[in-house]
Assembly symmetry: C2
Homo-oligomer: 339 residues x 2
Amino acid sequence: MTSIRELAMHLQISIGTVSRALNGKPDVNPVTRERVIAAAHELGYAPNQTGRALRRGATQTIGIMIETSSAVERNGDDFFLPVVDAAQTQLARHAYDLVILPCSSSDDVCSFLSRVVGRGIVDAIILADIRRQDPRIELLSKKGIPFLTLGRSGVSSNHAWIDLDFEGFVEHSLAELVALGHRRIAITLPQSDVNLGEMLYATYQSFLTRHQLSYDPALVMRVEQNENGGSQAVAALMALDDRPTALLLSYEAIAMGVYSELREAGLVVGQDLSVIGFRHNPQLRFLSPGLTAYEIPLAALGQALADGILAVLRGEPGPTLIWPGTLHATASIGPPPKP
Amino acid sequence: MTSIRELAMHLQISIGTVSRALNGKPDVNPVTRERVIAAAHELGYAPNQTGRALRRGATQTIGIMIETSSAVERNGDDFFLPVVDAAQTQLARHAYDLVILPCSSSDDVCSFLSRVVGRGIVDAIILADIRRQDPRIELLSKKGIPFLTLGRSGVSSNHAWIDLDFEGFVEHSLAELVALGHRRIAITLPQSDVNLGEMLYATYQSFLTRHQLSYDPALVMRVEQNENGGSQAVAALMALDDRPTALLLSYEAIAMGVYSELREAGLVVGQDLSVIGFRHNPQLRFLSPGLTAYEIPLAALGQALADGILAVLRGEPGPTLIWPGTLHATASIGPPPKP
DNA sequence: CAGCGTGCCGTAAACGTTTACGGAAACAGT
DNA sequence: ACTGTTTCCGTAAACGTTTACGGCACGCTG
């Protein structure tokens, strides 16, 4: 509530000096600086960010845009908030704040984004839920807004990005399964055109050809990225004459439906069907058997995101970085059943 | 990027007229208004929110504050984002935007909040994760910021709030269980001092005395609000000489751990122990048996939150409202086992 | 025709900061 | 004593809007 003007009047000095004192500028007597700081603290003065932003052309806050629609489809996962939490503590060290910009399902992604940047409430933006052809990338490039994407896209643009190691997930998982003797391995993919789906698919195909395994399109199933997707996948598998012996899940929550349907059908996970999921989370150990999954260190990822966007803000190139994980094997995989 | 000045130069009129035309003010010729709107659209002009906010003293965006720490403890539930989604579409109808203000676990709740209001990036705030003695309420009251809490608190302050019907959950659940013949019913509560814990407890106690059921403190278990909490609760129950025959869960994800531990112990949910959870969500049907739970219509709740905060912004009293739900019974409850 | 109202528009101040610029005072060096 | 330098501080412009105010050019009325 108290403005810099009131503070200056109270101190009997000019507002310019107050501002300089508070912002650590050189041209100010150490003792007056102390007086100013003390008075500011006493009166509870905090610089109005709107005025400051208008003058500086920067708000010291960065935004991370998510689409609530896709988050709602995944009906709440534990990926996003831990990452945000870590990113925020890192940004706070550089006097930046973080806000989440949720694009509602009733809104158009691009008009939402241009509205947000038009409002000028953030200096830079982290984009999540990257599509294969994501128009937001060109939009931000054109407007000259510093940004970083959490996820690669198919568009050829040299922007900064950090992405999870989907290739590593598929590679390690398939290698593990093949070593166990599996030859027919199915995979679930998202239905929307999020880029990670494309990458999972490409790596899957590449692995099969490199290891002289035959490719069967019936083993690639595009399903909802939640428990229902598991039901859909198992239903599709059961209808096949030549069933796969293993299954890769593009999102761990799908396992709930998979386990449930398999139990219904009298099949045992890890014996009749080996299952591996992307990504490990704590509640998976309450499935029985616990799900073999790829583990991503989320806190470190959040910190990397923060450092990355700060680099972009400084005008540096910014990261282009694949964030690795590790496969945690459990009893959800085993040798294929004897025919 | 384009300012109102450029737009005015392009149209050969003054910036005052441009502003009036765009904001629907009366004193402007209809044909010039059309010209201005057309040119604004053509040049992609969007009023800079910082300048507008500075002049108007309002930003047309409202914030909803969450604590990532508690969200992380619940490791991702499907409650929050659907509510935000609905609130946002409703706010958009009144030309308001919504941002999520995540308070990181490394930050102090009050200093975070006062920093946020000091920045002046939001006109009003919705508070979630309400504590029993929540200092944020007094802070916002003192600063005169319009706010609304999603959850009641123990502090006596006549602010606007909307809360879930925790009393109804406990009342209906206990009534159902007592009708089935249960007499010893346990309940899990959160460990932190979130207010909902206190309300669940109070209603639980009140019900017991009203129905002449004996109260046993050993049946009240404060546990983590996630799968681990289920393990903790079941472990505590198993250690009792006189075990309860039913269990109320303060958060549905606890059921994961409960089911897992009971299965481990060779006990059957719905037969050896009846279980009811707060709150229904889609993935519960993949537990077997599906969890009896209290269902809350989230989209309508989000809309009510939006309407409520808008009312507060208009200076109206704002709602004080308990949001009801309905109990969906499944095979996770049944008559108590014969001794 | 004088007077008045109305419709439309330009001017300029204001919102709360930051910062380039200039200047007063103090001090040092010749 | 004069000049030059340093230290500190005040002045005012600028950021991009909105809006109160005044004024010009009409058209209308008496």
